[in-house]
Point group: D2
């Protein structure tokens, strides 16, 4: 199949997530990167474009310029990846949405709640697809977990334990030239949430994706342990679900020994499930009263929902990039389906989109509001 | 050395914890069990005494009778183990304390707060020692963790994550003839706390023991998932420490796949520690910015504090019974020191006593109070 | 029940295994240690006896003296534990066997093959029981593994992988005052086998116990990596079973990072099993074509064969000492049965005895013979 | 940089390894697949080419046709991936080597020793590069292990333990329509080695790559457990190194519960290392006498040698495909260097090539020869 012509906003040299998106777009061969506005500094943008082998004519100094020029070309981009810091997500997505160019945007949705509303309007007004890369939902064993919960393997859900600890901000790295830390600790660029926005939303999204349930209320105790840090770098959250289930969410950027320890544990009256991102090819399942089973990706006991997004045999580990690629590959399918005339509402499948982004924003908003009220309960 | 003459209240056939205390008392040879009031039913008591090889004359029908008779014998018991359900702890301990017989009591301190106060008074009025078997503090690697924290291995403490999930009450076992579940779900016998009293106090105590810090306030969301269950069987608690550290505590009796998953994770500005009870011979330590180290009991990197309570070489696992025995062995040392004239205040060392019991009661009280106020913050 | 009167030969201060035997004899309360010849140096023997609280009159300077004196007492010992270095096993056991005192002997059977034959004769000529403490067979999950194999869980056995790596002799510790290393590296005291005698026999015994099968032939490549070391400190052995199954056995005392890494993996045409000594409460079972199951001691999926030798609930770890105690407890049962008139041949149950010891000696002999012939195949 | 034009021989629908090569070639964007002879059946070849989006004119019915046609095009392929069953490796590589087209060939080198010699001659006679995809050497932590050993972290190497167990051929899958099993169990297509050729060579290669040492002699006990199976499906091999080090190698296709359990453990007089393919982002290192350290990919303690071939932050797992891609990416660098005039001998870096292939063939040959002589020692 002809690859989809892809552009990218952000993701120049030194950026972590831009490279991830590029690899993810290549793994299954569904995209070809043909244009970019890779940095907010035009010179850097062009240098990065050159390093990536972009046609200089399509390496733009700004996203507005890029949207306009590409929309005018017969071979212009069909989709664009937005991989800027959070505060630019909406501004960057807007001109593409307006021109019907599909948007694949990194999370969280935006830095501000105003932007989030504006994004929602822009998406509503556009024929284009909007995909938000809540990439952990692309892991095969997360898909299996979702399917098992939906099929009743846990019975009635009682307890949700989800956590995402990291340690890279234990020291004052934002003062030591670490760019990734600089914007993440700056409310103007990151938004009202620090760790809760950057990784807490991932934990929240993962739990929501797998359980299919949403908390009604939460109580959040946010901390900023780093000296002079304005945004939270550690958060303790209690969750109450409409169904009666209860949960805890912990995210941290100051937990030495933890790298990307996203982990979900679910307990129902009929069984328990556990999955961790750092060894993502295993899913632990305990039917109550029986021994725990280690289910492997594509192995014995693998569910069709996970097999469908798995590439290689069990025991050969797939990782973060393959999970990310699953979103890109499903996005390619959705884009082609829309191009073939399918209604936008019918093509998203398991892909996270605007709604997931809005839920993430609501989670951040509720956490911040709760924290302001001494970690009191706040409706979601 | 001549073994200490030990009596036991409770712990007849079918009881779990009585057998544990008996084994723990035997492991290092410091005690000899010579008397008992092993059940509240006199017949059962005598049958259990016979099964254990007690002299029938010293197998009593009640603890009052036992206290009186033993105190009158020249070879009477020097110490008594109280292993009844919680609501009898005070009543059973009292006659022995009054007669200067040392008491080794299972936790929590008592079922009611009134009893706890009465126990405090009885202990204060007695020359005898009072030891509360918060047994997890007897694990060598817990001792090492405490020493490392005290010596600054973590720097300034920031985050405490402690949990104790079990799954044995996932179903309605208290209605199916499981005695252990019957009294634990009965407020009259267990007290105001369900899971928080039974295992939450262990988690709380472990964190306090290792960190040397105490929360000032907590917010507790208690749940009773089991149908018709009056006491909590799952609890989510947020903790705020005077030092600025924050914590989360989770305990559960309804988490399928979890057996006795007591686990403590601590994070400071200089490092992280992790220990879990189910594989207790390992302690994970990460100096911030260095690889994680797996420190083994009695192995390379073992701290004197743990080596001192370890019996066999690294790689030969010690377990729950050895940790429990460490309390008994230290209690024997304390009893002999007191018998040799040392002041009671100077012999307890790392042994948990009345204060640990009172802290546990305060924890239960605060959790219940918080839960009544929609999980609002309560001072401890 | 009245405890069995136990004596001990060897096991004075500084000895590791003597302390283990003493704790093991106490855990279930079936023995009382009343006599000892705790060291080959009479003064040390008496000092050790005093430290252990033995009646000075029963703390002997030699095992001959002890055997004679104890046999003459109406309250003399009923059983004796032999925990000397290997070369004294026979000499120490002999006078007790001759007097009908039951012998619990550490492994391997003896240092020399001559002694092994003499031991066999002495056992045959005695009415006493002879128990050899192949202690790893006392682990509950090893018992379960044996039962599962016997019941056909693996189908037809194909592959045996067993290993026992340690690291404590990586350096030249025998020249640095480590007593445990001194006699173990001395052929006169240890016998013809170094690592194969000390730990290889454990690995061999474990595989034999669990599989119920015996190799017909082996090929052994023995190495002495330690400078000047006369006995093997690392061994690679290939095994061929009469049934057609094949195996590998590795033991090492020079493998940095390994403490007591005894591990058994079995594979048949219907499934696989894995057990490791360092986390002994778990047994991994994979029915072919299904997910692996983690079976826990006394937990869901636990087999009666393991439950029978387990003391506490799942998730509360039992360890090395409890496994060792299981042999002592079963030995107590066997001794009492014999005392009650049961034929010696009918009381041993799963207890390892002379036959296990002879098999261990045959294993050592075959390994040494194979190594001398360039690791050629040798019949067992 | 302009992607390298790549062709592929083999790898049509149903083939596992062809898809792996394609993804590996795409991950870093260094290749574009433009031609193929994807199946030995011309119709299948064309159908597979269509499915992959190849220009029909460049989807060939045979590799000879493809080599001739592509060599004649100005935009012809610069490199070809050979992913056929083993017996076609040489025949397929030959026409490309003759035309100076670089060859990336799956392992083992060939099915027969005659073909291996012919391949060596063809490579020698060609200006093209020859890369053999011993892909496990592409894992970052394998690179780190190699660097650490070279820098002396283990001191003098003593013991090598390497294993590669699988379970997928436990049953008679070759009779049940599993294509992957059919040719692997057929000597005509697979060569003289079954499991030793398919996965034993990977284990052998991994040990050689990391240690930098080669065994002088080996003794191999080969088994065919599957009914009617002509080639080995399980192998036990003892190794003797020139340096005095000794090793064991186990590979199996009939070990239920094992998926792709490639694992390497190395022990020297100064330390030990352990790495396993199923959780490849961790490397365990134990300096003798210190606690074990868990070194993570790109994390604290990561070595430049591994960082250089790592794409994403620690804690975000990379897997099999990224390791495979590392070989493709390094091959692209080598191809471009040769195109820029660098001597072929100087561009291979850590890439496995003809020599690694010949060593693998020598390993297979020696194993088969040893097995024929009752597992006697054979020189390598």
């Amino acid at each position: 199949m002809t690859p989809i012509r892809l552009g990218m906003v952000g993701g120049g040299a030194d950026a972590f997530i831009g490279g991830v998106h590029r690899i993810a777009s290549r793994i299954d061969g569904d995209y070809t990167l043909v244009a970019g506005a890779l940095s907010s500094t035009p010179e850097k943008a062009r240098a990065s474009g050159k390093a990536l082998g972009l046609d200089p004519a399509r390496s733009y100094g700004s996203f507005e310029e890029m949207a306009e020029a590409e929309a005018a070309r017969p071979d212009g981009i069909e989709a664009v990846a937005i991989v800027t810091p959070n505060h630019l997500h909406f501004a960057a997505a807007k001109p593409f949405l307006e021109r019907g160019i599909h948007v694949i945007c990194d999370k969280p949705l935006t830095a501000t709640f105003e932007d989030a509303e504006a994004m929602a309007e822009a998406v509503a007004a556009s024929p284009a697809l909007f995909i938000l890369t809540h990439n952990y939902t692309g892991y095969p064993m997360v898909r299996q977990a979702q399917a098992m919960v939906a099929e009743g393997a846990l019975g009635r859900l009682r307890v949700v334990q989800v956590e995402y600890p990291q340690d890279w901000m234990t020291g004052a790295v934002e003062t030591e030239g670490v760019k990734q830390a600089e914007w993440r600790t700056d409310p103007a660029r990151s938004g009202a949430g620090g760790s809760i926005g950057d990784i807490g939303t991932h934990a929240y999204n993962l739990a929501a994706f797998v359980t299919g349930e949403r908390p009604e209320r939460l109580a959040a105790d946010l901390q900023s342990f780093g000296a002079g840090r304005q945004l939270d770098d550690n958060a303790h959250v209690m969750l109450r679900y409409a169904s009666g289930a209860r949960g805890m969410l912990w995210c941290s950027q100051v937990a030495p020994g933890c790298e990307n320890g996203l982990r979900l544990r679910l307990f129902g009256d009929a069984g328990g499930l556990e999955w961790g991102q750092e060894n993502p090819n295993h899913l632990w399942f305990t039917p109550h009263g029986e021994p725990s089973r280690r289910i492997t990706r594509n192995g014995a006991g693998a569910h069709e929902a996970g097999v469908a997004v798995s590439r290689i045999p069990p025991g050969h580990p797939e990782g973060y990039l393959e999970a990310f690629a699953n979103l890109y590959t499903e996005a390619a399918g959705a884009i082609r389906a829309v191009q073939d005339g399918a209604p936008r509402a019918e093509v998203m499948g398991k892909l996270p989109g605007l709604a997931a982004g809005q839920e993430g924003m609501a989670f951040i908003r509720a956490c911040v509001a709760s924290a302001r009220e001494d970690a009191g309960w706040v409706a979601l």
